[in-house]
């Protein structure tokens, strides 16, 4: 028994294409007819007939389809830019401004409206036209198909739009500084419901709110909402405080500056005086040195004098003693 080991990823073409066989049979029949001598009809009528029936219903339906395809391609082309979040890091080339996004939304909506009107028009024409029932049914079904196609493309568009609206609403929620309040809850409840019809309306409402905002602390791309009066007052107070702080700081700085300048002047004077004192101190130093020497000499002289004095004193003392002894001797002698 032969086993076939096969591995294929696709379903096979089970039917057999015998178009070539058919064409071969056409040739056979042609040659047979020629041999027998049967003539052919001219081929001209066929071409005329076909060109006549080309225009009309199906042509217009095909036009609508090409338009819808153009819209779809347009949406898909800009889809990436449309959806991308406006991050600061991304380059300016790929980022879309909101204005551009709104433009795309508007254009797409106008386009879709025109297409659906064209379809309606075709449908009413089909109704009016007196054609056999099958053709009417066929055309009705064709228009149904076109409408389904349009609806598919509209879905693409509304998905994009929904993502954008959701992102805006999230941003709004995040950029709020105060905690949420019940009064805000109503507004958000109106904005949030996701039923398709109200989504369209509410998204338009929120976009108009957005455009009417006043305060913008950040760069121009971001949107701010209106602030309540209390918040304004609070901001003003804070402003005042900050201003006073700043100005006091400035004053202090100036004062310090002045003081530093004085100090530097005084410093100069001191330096001058000190320099003067230097020369005098030198004199004094000289004098003191002289005096020291004089005193030294004087000390020497005094020492010598003392010596002399001492020596003198010793001689005197000796003399006196001698005198006394002599006196005593004399006194004894005389006696």
């Amino acid at each position: 028994m032969t086993c076939r080991f096969v591995y294929s990823g696709a379903f096979r073409e089970m039917a057999v294409d015998i178009t070539l066989l058919f064409k071969a049979s056409v040739k056979t029949v042609k040659t047979r007819n020629k041999a027998i001598g049967i003539g052919f009809d001219s081929t001209k009528d066929e071409i005329f007939k076909r060109s006549r029936t080309k225009s009309g219903f199906s042509q217009r339906a095909k036009e609508v389809i090409t338009n819808i395809t153009k819209l779809k391609d347009f949406l898909l082309q800009h889809r990436k830019d449309y959806i991308s979040a406006g991050s600061l890091i991304s380059s300016d080339l790929t980022r879309m401004t909101d204005g551009e996004r709104d433009q795309i939304d508007q254009d797409a909506q106008i386009f879709m409206r025109t297409c659906s009107e064209a379809i309606k028009q075709l449908r009413s024409e089909v109704e009016k036209q007196a054609a056999p029932a099958q053709i009417k049914e066929h055309r009705g079904a064709v228009l149904d198909l076109v409408e389904t196609y349009l609806r598919g493309v509209c879905k693409v568009y509304s998905e994009q739009r929904a993502i954008r609206v959701k992102r805006m609403v999230d941003k709004k929620r995040l950029s709020r500084l105060t905690p949420e309040r019940p009064s805000r809850a109503e507004k958000t409840l109106e904005v949030e419901p996701t039923e398709e019809k109200t989504r369209e309306e509410s998204s338009e409402k929120s976009s108009s709110e957005v455009q009417g905002s006043s305060v913008s602390l950040w760069e121009e791309g971001r949107v701010e909402d209106e602030l309540s009066p209390e918040e304004i007052q609070m901001f003003e107070q804070e402003n005042q405080r900050l201003v006073s702080e700043m100005s006091s700081l400035v004053d202090e700085v100036r004062q310090i500056e002045g003081k530093v300048v004085e100090i530097s002047r005084l410093q100069e004077i001191f330096a001058e005086k000190v320099l003067q004192q230097e020369s005098e101190i030198d004199n004094i130093h000289q004098l003191v040195v002289g005096a020291t020497e004089n005193v030294k000499e004087g000390n020497e002289d005094i020492r010598e004098a003392i010596k002399n004095n001492a020596g003198f004193r010793v001689w005197i003392l000796f003399f006196l003693v001698m005198c006394s002894f002599s006196l005593l001797f004399l006194d004894w002698y005389d006696s």
Binding site: R4, V6, A15, L21, V26, T69, H138, T148, Y149
Partner: protein, 631 residues
């Protein structure tokens, strides 16, 4: 065979409807419109597989019968899907001459012969529209797939290949040849679609053998013809190593005559038996209640309603093989769960109405919006579920009415006991003479089953008694003649052993439980089916497992891929098969199918496909038997 036959056929049809190019997955592609034209055969093939909505999605704006009056619709391509018969070809030529459409894509359900192709060619030449005939294809789709694993050969003209046609006494050889050819043609298309060459086994000595021989020959020829073989190597079945070839078991109806007459107890089989069920479509009279209209009043005009039981219907897929009481309970459960979901959606609506009053609503907001989104998106699902529940409620109620009026549960129980040869608690005569137990047909069926399964024929006196009783009940006795003939013919020394089955009626407890449900099944016993194997299932089991059994040992063995056809009946392959296709020549029914499905479930990893040449209900089979018996 990773994909089921049904999927393969659907894929083939879709490709054909897409001008024979594989359809793109791109959902938002430009619509291209076309017109579909089929004959009755094509209609039968397409209708179980593709709904009208799916056809519309594929761009088919109109679908018309070939032989109806059709108006010219210029500049629209037309796809034809029909059998290459003489009349169809004539009609195509007429269309070509009248230039009804812009371009023609001709798809023939089975292969068209060269001469007929030339007829079309000459008509096209004469009308000068040869360029408009864009493509001609042989689709090889000449069979109808009803379920993932069930197919029948044809629904139109099934009298030509019915049991009656094959087994009638005045059958000519030429007629037989013609019947065999058509059966083999369809089976060949089936294997082409499947993409596998099977190993064929069949019993000896009956119609099944003839079919097997012819099929083997046809497959062999096709494989030898390397140029246009339909089983060429690089385009075989999708995405898997096909080491194993499927086993194709041919069985003949004569092997088991009791099963078609059997009363059934599973949902799908009951619908087929009791209601008008064809090609997965049930046609019922609306508002048919079992209450008689008040005397004198004109009965209400009952409109016919038809329901499609499709693959998308999850409830149907789950419960089509379950015993009927289970089905009743499940419908009740589904209804309850649907009501719960409906209440939840309503509750959400009231929550959303409280906006602005609830401080904590903001934190619940995102929760609620998510719930609301899911509720809105699940609404279509809920509606669809409701529709299905209604459908099944109606169908099940109708079936229940029939059961109650005809006491089908009694019959079922009794027949099960007959088939399993367990002791009978009631005598057959009692049931037959019981006036309000079922229609005469039911009684006849019961008696035939008794006759078929009896070990030895009942004595003459007994038979006379039964005959009288049956005639009193108003039955037609001609089927009995035929069955007698058949029994003698087949010389069933061992009548088909229907295996052990036990039927336990569940007692009072379950009856008490059931009174709470919407379907008040009073008096209808809640019967539990125990697993038992019908003859066909047992034969399949033996052959697949390569078990040795006296019944199947002398089955013939054919392998179209072998170089030399051998007459031996020794199988060369010793491994058990994983995939099998069972085909019953002469007709089959849902009971056999259900039995095979149950068998498959008990043996994981096996895939079994059931096919028959025609699908008949017991009533239709009885008619054929009576026709046969009258000759």
């Amino acid at each position: 065979m990773a994909a089921s036959v049904r999927e393969k056929q659907t894929v083939a049809l879709r490709r054909m409807l897409n001008f024979n190019t594989p359809p793109l997955k791109n959902t938002a592609a430009e619509p291209v419109w076309k017109v579909l034209i089929y004959d009755r055969f094509g209609q039968d093939i397409i209708s179980p597989l593709l709904s009208v909505k799916e056809l519309r999605d594929m761009g088919i704006t109109l679908h018309l019968l070939l032989h109806s009056d059709r108006d010219p619709i210029p500049d629209v391509p037309a796809i034809y899907f029909l059998m290459p018969t003489e009349e169809n070809i004539d009609r195509i030529c007429q269309d070509l001459r009248n230039q009804l459409y812009e371009s023609y894509y001709l798809n023939f359900i089975s292969a068209i012969s060269r001469s007929k192709l030339e007829d079309i060619a000459s008509a096209a030449l004469a009308a000068n529209v040869v360029s408009q005939v864009t493509k001609v294809f042989d689709q090889y789709l000449n069979f109808i797939t009803l379920e993932d694993d069930m197919f029948i050969l044809c629904h139109q003209n099934k009298e030509l290949i019915s049991y009656h046609a094959i087994n009638r006494a005045d059958l000519q050889d030429t007629d037989m040849e013609a019947i065999m050819d058509s059966i083999v043609d369809s089976l060949f298309c089936f294997f082409v679609t499947l993409g596998a060459v099977p190993i064929i086994r069949c019993p000896r000595g009956n119609a099944a053998e003839m079919v097997a021989v012819k099929l083997d020959k046809k497959l062999r020829e096709n494989l030898r013809d390397a140029r246009n073989s339909l089983f060429t190597g690089d385009s075989m079945s999708a995405g898997q190593f096909s080491f194993q070839r499927p086993l194709f078991v041919l069985a003949d109806r004569n092997m088991d005559m009791a099963t078609p007459l059997h009363h059934s107890w599973t949902y799908q089989a009951l619908i087929h038996d009791v209601l008008d069920f064809h090609l997965n479509r049930v046609v019922m009279e609306e508002g048919a209640s079992s209450e008689p209209s008040p005397g004198g009043a004109r009965p209400k005009k009952k409109s016919k309603k038809s329901y499609d039981l499709t693959a998308a219907d999850k409830f149907w897929q789950k419960h089509k093989g379950s015993p009927f009481p289970e089905v009743a309970e499940s419908v009740q459960e589904e209804l309850d769960s649907y009501r719960a979901q409906e209440d939840e959606v309503k509750r959400l609506k009231s929550i959303m109405g409280l906006e602005g009053e609830d401080e904590g609503a903001i934190s619940m907001l995102s929760d609620n919006t998510a719930k609301l989104t899911s509720a809105v998106s699940s609404l279509p699902e809920l509606l669809e579920k409701k529709r299905l529940i209604d459908l099944h409620t109606n169908v099940a109620t109708a079936v229940l009415d029939h059961i109650k009026s005809r006491k089908l549960d009694v019959y079922f129980e009794y027949e099960e006991k007959l088939l399993s040869k367990s002791t009978l608690d009631k005598s057959l005569l009692d049931i037959i003479t019981d006036p309000d137990a079922g229609t005469p047909e039911d009684k006849m069926r019961l008696f035939l089953i008794y006759y078929i399964t009896a070990q030895q024929a009942p004595s003459e006196s007994d038979l006379e008694q039964y005959r009288k009783a049956l005639l009193d009940a108003g039955c037609d006795l001609s089927p009995l003649n035929y069955i007698k003939q058949w029994k003698a013919f087949t010389k069933m020394a061992n009548p088909a052993n229907y295996g052990n089955s036990g039927v336990k009626p569940m007692g009072l407890f379950s009856r008490v439980m059931n009174t709470g449900s919407q379907f008040v099944m009073e008096g209808v016993k809640n019967l539990v089916l125990k697993q038992h194997n019908l003859p066909v299932t047992r034969i399949l089991d033996n052959l697949m497992e390569m078990k040795s059994h006296p019944e199947t040992d002398d089955y013939r063995y054919f392998d179209p891929k072998m170089l030399r056809g051998s007459e031996s009946s020794v199988p060369r392959n010793k491994n058990p098969f994983q995939e099998a296709i069972v085909f019953v020549v002469g007709g089959g029914n849902y009971i056999e199918y259900q039995n095979l499905v149950d068998y498959t479930k008990s043996k994981p990893g096996r895939k079994i496909v059931y096919g028959c040449s025609e699908l008949f209900s017991a009533a239709q089979f009885m008619k054929q038997l009576s026709q046969l018996g009258q000759k």
